[in-house]
Symmetry: C2
Subunit: 121 residues, 2 copies
DNA sequence: TTGTTGTTCAACCCGATGGTTGAACACCTT
DNA sequence: AAGGTGTTCAACCATCGGGTTGAACAACAA
């Protein structure tokens, strides 16, 4: 599992079952058995999903007699949010710059559709 | 590829190379050849990565002579951000509620750590 | 027409992933 | 000590994902 942290988080959330687990864990902690109940898969499969979420840092586990309750770790979400917001902002700024460019565009552009795609390079 | 939209987006961004492409596309549109340049993989591999990003709705492609410039579609990021924020907020509210619970807690609780885990179910 | 450039398609390899079942471990109850 | 409950480990199987190479397609340039 040499993948970087961000990859592990994205990868963990790429599975609908795991996202559903996260959804339910946002409401309340739960045990493996409780989590497994709605899904039509083995307990072992659910346990594996939890391992993925845990390796991604999205959940933590404690011990409580035989049970091992699962707890959502909300902080990791910030990692993703930051990454996403950064590039969404960049892309938006870029549109801003493109607007400026178009606004100050001289008239000597050829009639063929200007390569709006090749703003750089 | 019957996976739902959100799964496709998360899955697409789970790969570091593809995230790097997105990073660079946030700065400017680029062709396959331009995108491939920094990576030590074949052009075909890069083309495949782009297909994944496109299927996830993260990029679009146009035609410009032989070239097929790649363009970042920033809107899809909102889908993820919304999903993430929703559960992050829920989890935080939950802590709030737990704080309330602890604040208004009566004295007749047993000395053993109260099962804060079993709030639901 | 022939060639050159940019890109994708097709077939294949290999390691990772999601699922299974059966056995084992951990902890409580009796 | 023996049994029950909750969870994980181990081995296995099928599919998927990222990589490769070789051939093909698309559009321009001679």
């Amino acid at each position: 599992m040499p993948a970087d942290a961000l990859s592990r988080v994205f990868s963990a959330l790429a599975d609908p079952t795991r996202r559903d687990m996260v959804t339910r864990l946002a409401v309340a902690d739960a045990t493996v058995n409780e989590l497994a109940e709605p899904y039509d898969v083995s307990l072992q499969a659910v346990s594996k999903h939890l391992k993925v979420l845990q390796d991604a840092g999205l959940v933590s586990r404690s011990r409580e007699a035989q049970r091992r309750p699962v707890h959502l770790e909300a902080e990791v979400f910030d990692l993703m949010t930051k990454w996403i917001e950064r590039y969404r902002r960049q892309a938006e700024e870029r549109y801003g710059r493109l607007d400026d460019l178009l606004r100050t565009m001289p008239d000597d552009v050829e009639p063929t559709p200007p390569p709006a795609t090749g703003a750089a390079r």
